[in-house]
Symmetry: C2
């Protein structure tokens, strides 16, 4: 049985794979996160490939390597992780009381029995609708420290849950990994259950 | 400041209220969970009222009391908690590969300043779409022990996540409490932030 390698240092992605009972190891990718794409679904697929490929090439070409990348998208703009508190505030103010989309690209790589590398890439998108947030609520949320390492400056699974009116799509995709789809793909190719 | 009382012993509801940073106490309701209603939204509102009212009347009429009840609904049938493994299996087989709805009714009770009791009841519904599950997958899931105390025989937040293709609505409503709406209602009435 081949090993499954998660090419991501994100504790949330690790938690999700663990939650569904998969055996895996983590190997953080040293990939250069640069893409020439501009459409959100292409950007995240591109970056998920870069992350997975860097780990695959770094001694894991006998394993099944999973890379993922998540962005928030609104008003034709891609929101990644905020660089400082000022940017946090700007992002959260722009998301308040409206709908946006979260895109996670996933790439799964493994060696074909006959040689060559199999590339499986997909993108999941989820629409997220937020209640309006007051300045006081935004400031209090930033003070929790939660937003800083998260695309779009929020984590759906934390205190921010109180601002989520509803979603359409996969919830775990917003957390950072569409883990159901990952499991279903692994199963389809004989790598799970 | 009035105390918030959660009239439910569910560890998941407790976890959700904690997650959004609310101060509250738990007081498990001894209400008779009986209703003459048959429509799912009316059933859960009725039962959430019964749970909240029993606690309100039991020495908490100075507090803000929150009751909740959750059911799964498919094919004109209400699925509550399974009574045994056989029923678990039947429920999971019927849910497999299809969409169903989850209804949570919430009632919030508090005393009006001028006397009398304020009753706020609402129902949130979320559509959940599942991937097909094999018999082997269903048996393995039942063996985890997760389904037994849960409406519809599954918990969206556990290993079952690998079978959730997507949802439409509030995720936490499926966990057992639409905590965002609860927070927004408390805020609107001056009981939060």
């Amino acid at each position: 049985m081949r090993k499954v390698i998660l090419a991501s240092g994100s504790p949330r992605r690790k938690e999700l794979l663990k939650q569904v009972g998969l055996d895996f190891e983590v190997c953080v990718s040293k990939a250069n996160e640069i893409t020439s794409r501009t459409k959100p679904d292409e950007v995240v697929k591109d970056l998920s490939y870069a992350k997975a490929k860097a780990v695959y090439d770094d001694g894991h070409d006998k394993d099944i390597v999973i890379g993922a990348d998540t962005v928030v998208y609104m008003d034709e703009m891609i929101l990644g992780k905020p660089s400082d508190e000022k940017q946090c505030k700007k992002m959260l103010k722009s998301l308040s009381g409206r709908s946006h989309k979260v895109y996670t690209g996933v790439t799964i790589l493994w060696a074909e029995p006959g040689g060559g590398m199999h590339v499986l890439s997909f993108c999941a998108d989820t629409t997220v609708k937020l209640y309006p947030m007051s300045d006081k609520e935004i400031d209090a949320y930033i003070a929790t420290g939660e937003p800083m390492d998260k695309a779009g400056a929020y984590g759906i699974q934390g205190e921010f849950a109180k601002f989520i009116e509803g979603i359409e799509g996969d919830y775990n995709n917003v957390v950072g990994l569409p883990v159901a789809r990952v499991y279903q793909e692994l199963k389809k190719h004989g790598f799970a259950d």
